[in-house]
Amino acid sequence: MADPVLAVRDLVVEFVSDDGVARAVDEVSFTVGRGEIVGLVGESGAGKTLTSEAILGLIRCPPGRVSGEVRFRGQNLLGADERALALIRGKDIAMIFQNPGASLNPVMRIGRQLTEAMAIHLAEARHRLRRRAVDVLTKVGIPSAAARVRDYPHQFSGGMAQRVMIGMGISCVPSLLIADEPTTALDVTIQAQVLALIRQLAREMGMAVLLVSHDLGIVSQMCHRVIVMYAGRIVEQAPVATLFHAPAHPYTRALIACLPGRDGEGRLGAIPGMMPGLKAMPTGCRFHPRCDKAEPRCATEEPKLRQVGADQIAACHLAKSDG
C-alpha cells in the first residue's frame, strides 16, 4: 500500500490546570490513505474533536499539551512552526466545521473570501482567481455561481453556506479534508446533498477525508474505515462493513444497539450511565462501569488495542484474538 496521506501516532492531548493534568486524548494512532474516507465516531467527550484539532495544530498550548506524531505526507506537523503550518492549512489540508454560518466573514462578499484564501496559497492573477472562485462554486453545486460570488454570507442558506465552505476548502485542491460534524446543523435532505458532494470529491480528486461524527448512520454510509473512540481512547477500528456486522468491542455493539432500528419495535439497547469525565477516569478499561460483559480484571487491567480480525483491532480483554 502506498504511504498514507495522514499518519497519526501516539497522539496525546493533555490539559494542565491547578488540579493536575487531564488527558483528553490518550495515545491515538491511525492513518488515512489517498481517496479514503475514515470516520472518527464517539459521543460527546470521547475526544474526537480534540483529535482533529490537534492534527490541525489548533489547540492552544498552554494550557494544552500535545505530543506524539502527526505525519502529513511524511512531514511531522507537530514539530512544524506556525508559518509552515499556515502554508499547509487551507491549501493541502482543508477543514470544515459544524456551523457554516459562523465560519464565514459576514461583511465580506463570498467571492472575495474565496479569492483571498486562494491568493495566499496560489500565485495567480486576481482575475484568474475570480474565475476560479466561480468554477469552485459551480463544482460544489451552487446555482448561478457567477452572480452569487457577489452575495454576502447571510444571503446563503445553511446548506449553501456549507457548500461555500467546502468550495473554499477544495479551492486549492487539498489532499486531506478534515470535516468535523459537517452536516449536524443541516436538514436531512440538505445533509444528503452535502455528504454526496464530499463522497464525490474523495472519489474524483483522490482526496483523503477524516470525518468526525457522532452519527453512526452517516458513518456507515460515508466511510471506508471507522475508528470508535471512548473517553479519549480508540476502542475499535475496522473496515465499515466489519464494524457494523461484527463489532468486537462491547461499546461499539452497545452504540449500534442504541439506534432506533428498521422495525421500530421493542426497546432500544440503551447504555446505562454516561461517559466518564476527565477527572474521574475509571481504572482498567474505561468502559467497564457501563459494560454488561465486564469481568473483575476489566476494572484493574487496562486492555491494549490488539488484532481481533482481518484489519480489525479492538481494546477489550474479552474480544477473541485473530488466529
Binding site: D187, V188, T189, L268, A270, I271
Partner: protein, 350 residues
C-alpha cells in the same frame, strides 16, 4: 372520541416591514408558518410530527397547547373547544396538556433546585398541599429514573440526560394526558437518547399518555410513533400509521425524505453515491408561497396541475392520507404505481 382534535389550524406571522416600505404603502406580507393543519390524537396514542427546519412543526406543537394564539382554526381537547378559552379558564386544560422542550440546558431555571422545579407546577395548579409536595416530587423523580437526592441539586450539577428527566418529571407533575415533546431527545448523545426514548415509551404504557412527538429525526419518529404526520412548508403532506409511512410512503416528499436518511447499511453501497435519488433544491421561503402544491418546485413528478391548484390532504387508502395529485381518484392510483416503479428503477440502476 379523540383526546385532541385540531381543525384547519393556522398561524401567520406578519413580516416586520421597515419604515421605508411602510411609507411606500407596500403590501402586508405574512409568513405562513402553519397553514391549515388538521389531525387528531387518540388517548394513549403517539402521533409523530416530522419535517425539516422551518416547516412549522414546532409552531404546531405550541399552537396545540395554546402557548401561542392561532390565526385560524379550532382545537378541541377531550371534547371541549379550547380555542377561545381565556387565560383564567385555560388552567384546567394546562393541567391535562404539557410540554417537554428540546434543550434541557435552557428550559430549566438555573436558580431553582430540581425539587422546586418539579414541585412548582403542583403548587401553581393547587393539586397537592404544600406538605405533600416533597413526597410527590420523590415519587416523580423515581418514575423518571432519578434518585431522591437529586431533588436538592441544581440543573448545572446534572448531565443532559438527567436534565431531560427533570423536564419530563416537571411535565408529569400535574398528571397530564397529553405531552407535546418538542425535539425532546435531539440534544442528547446516542446512548443517552436511547435511555430517554425508552423512558418516554415506558411512561406512555404505564400512564396511558398521548404524545405529539415533534422531531426532525426520522429514526426517532419511527421508534416512538403509532402514526406519523409529515409536514412541509406549513402543511401536512402525508398522515399514516408509522410502518406504512416508512415502508410505503406515498408523497414524493416523504419518499425523498426517507431516501435521505443515512441508516446503518452493509458498508458496501452508499446512498450518497446515488445523487439521482436525493432531493435537489431547498425549501422555498414560506413568505409568498407559490400557487399550487408547496412541494412542486422540488418534486421530480411535477405536472401542470401541480403548479395551478393545491392538492388537499385526502385518504388515498384507508387510514393513509396524502396531499398529492398522483393519488387523485382511480387514475391517480395507477399513476402512483408507475411513479413507485420509476423510483425503484432509478434507485436500483444508478
Amino acid at each position: 372520541m379523540p383526546l385532541l382534535e385540531v381543525e384547519d389550524l393556522a398561524k401567520h406571522f406578519p413580516v416586520r416591514r421597515g419604515l421605508f416600505t411602510r411609507a411606500l404603502g407596500g403590501p402586508e406580507r405574512v409568513v405562513r408558518a402553519v397553514d391549515g393543519v388538521s389531525f387528531a390524537i387518540e388517548p394513549g396514542e403517539t402521533l409523530g410530527l416530522v419535517g425539516e427546519s422551518g416547516c412549522g412543526k414546532t409552531t404546531t406543537g405550541r399552537l396545540v397547547l395554546r402557548a401561542i394564539e392561532p390565526s385560524r382554526g379550532r382545537i378541541v381537547f377531550d371534547g371541549e373547544d379550547v380555542t377561545a378559552l381565556s387565560a383564567s379558564h385555560l388552567l384546567p386544560f394546562r393541567r391535562k396538556a404539557q410540554i417537554v422542550f428540546q434543550d434541557p440546558y435552557t428550559s430549566l431555571n438555573p436558580r431553582m433546585t430540581v425539587g422546586k422545579i418539579v414541585g412548582e407546577p403542583m403548587r401553581v395548579h393547587q393539586i397537592a398541599a404544600d406538605a405533600e409536595v416533597p413526597a410527590r416530587v420523590r415519587a416523580l423523580l423515581d418514575t423518571v429514573g432519578l434518585r431522591p437526592e437529586h431533588a436538592q441539586r441544581y440543573p448545572h450539577e446534572l448531565s443532559g440526560g438527567q436534565r431531560q428527566r427533570v423536564g419530563i418529571a416537571r411535565a408529569l407533575a400535574v398528571g397530564p394526558r397529553l405531552i407535546v415533546a418538542d425535539e425532546a431527545v435531539s440534544a442528547l448523545d446516542v446512548s443517552v437518547r436511547a435511555q430517554i426514548l425508552n423512558l418516554f415509551v415506558d411512561l406512555r404504557d404505564r400512564l396511558g399518555l398521548a404524545y405529539l412527538f415533534v422531531s426532525h429525526d426520522l429514526g426517532v419518529i419511527r421508534f416512538v410513533s403509532h402514526r406519523v404526520a409529515v409536514m412541509y412548508l406549513g402543511a401536512l403532506v402525508e398522515v399514516a400509521p408509522a410502518a406504512r409511512v416508512f415502508e410505503r410512503p406515498l408523497h414524493p416528499y416523504t419518499q425523498a425524505l426517507i431516501a435521505s436518511i443515512p441508516t446503518v447499511g452493509d458498508g458496501r453501497a452508499s446512498i450518497f453515491d446515488e445523487p439521482a435519488r436525493l432531493l435537489q433544491g431547498e425549501l422555498p421561503s414560506p413568505i409568498d408561497l407559490p400557487r399550487g402544491c408547496r412541494f412542486a418546485s422540488r418534486c421530480p413528478h411535477r405536472f401542470d396541475r401541480c403548479t395551478e391548484t393545491e392538492p388537499r390532504l385526502e385518504a388515498a387508502e384507508p387510514g393513509h392520507a396524502v396531499a398529492c395529485f398522483l393519488y387523485d381518484r382511480g387514475s391517480g392510483e395507477r399513476l402512483a404505481g408507475q411513479t413507485r416503479a420509476t423510483l425503484n428503477h432509478e434507485g436500483g440502476a444508478s
